[in-house]
Symmetry: C2
Subunit: 214 residues, 2 copies
């Protein structure tokens, strides 16, 4: 009945995956290290041994998520360097689509972010400076350019970041709510693509026009 002993790294990875699910579902305070451990057949004190504290586990889990995000959406920096504005707009549209797909596949990211963003504490500051600020800055920069080019919708660069994140991720963050209210499955491929299409067409109305103009 005994499970073969795991390697250090395997156990760490499993605890991180488990932590993501629990933190996303119940928030930092609501999640218990005991449940996180038991979900992967470990004992609660093993968390303190491998991560020193609940906070440190949270930091590790968040870092893991943002690694995956960067992998999935890719560096957006090149956007700024695209030759012409339409090019930049198309690249941004692509990044938006990839972000919507990531939000559908990994609802934990935006669940954790929306939990963390409600309270002003050290955890939030660490997450923002380590992982979020770069995304915020590149978004406002590219958006300003696309606005000037008449491609982007009339949203101020200072708040477009939250419009994008909120609109793109909420149906996946609240997937159970979507299922109850619509009777449809938001994680179905078609649902996700419809959502991405709507977001892109609405936020970048000048792109559809421009593309047919060429």
């Amino acid at each position: 009945m005994r499970r073969p002993r795991r390697t250090r790294d395997d156990l760490r990875d499993q605890l991180i995956e488990s932590a993501l699910v629990e933190f996303a579902a119940k928030g930092f305070d609501g999640a218990s290290t005991r449940s996180i451990a038991e979900r992967v057949d470990a004992h609660q004190p093993q968390i303190n041994y491998h991560f020193a504290s609940k906070e440190a586990l949270w930091d590790a889990a968040v870092a893991h998520l943002f690694d995956q995000l960067l992998n999935a959406v890719g560096e957006v920096a090149p956007l700024d360097g695209a030759d012409d504005d339409i090019e930049a707009g198309l690249a941004f549209a692509d990044a938006l689509r990839r972000f919507v797909r990531f939000a559908a596949d990994h609802p934990e990211l935006n669940r954790i972010m929306v939990h963390a963003g409600t309270e002003d504490n050290d955890r939030l500051h660490r997450m923002l400076e380590r992982h979020v600020r770069a995304w915020y800055e590149i978004t406002t920069t590219v958006w300003t350019r696309l606005r000037d080019a008449g491609i982007a919708a009339p949203i101020a660069p200072s708040n477009v970041y939250w419009v994008i994140v909120g609109a793109a991720s909420l149906p996946f963050v609240n997937a159970p709510e979507v299922r109850v209210l619509t009777g449809t499955e938001p994680n179905a491929r078609a649902w996700v693509e419809t959502h991405a299409d709507g977001i892109v067409a609405t936020l970048l109305p000048g792109l559809t026009t421009a593309r047919t103009d060429r």
Copy 2:
């Protein structure tokens, strides 16, 4: 040093207000009935006496919030009856603006909703059927009409509800994040109105055009 004894209703109201803040900040599991009680100078067991259980207190707090929302945004039903489409569009734009202002003034609503919507449990179902479904239905109905009239942006009626709620409320739900990343105060009147302007102009592009056409 003794506080004058409160009436039954005063204490209930104070506990509900306190519960809203705590549930919004930490989620249902993370919030403790002890903190909720202590915040208004009461003892933890008084919650069980006045509300029977933590769940019942949550239900009462949520009901109170949705009462306030209805008060602030008003019945949207009349929208459907407006004579012409532009009229309906203007009324919808007005409701959107009032919703944005409410989200700024009462971030607890969307914080609690976003927490509740992540887990499929009885609490979520009670909230959806009692308070949310009506808003979802009227939104999709009006949106379908405005889409057909060429006023609304190209977002499917089945997901526009989450686009609106997500885009309109996230900067207030995550106000601490906005403060850190932008250095601005999202609750400032100007910030809120700029946000509302952006949302309305982006979601109802046909309205600006139509208005100048007349």
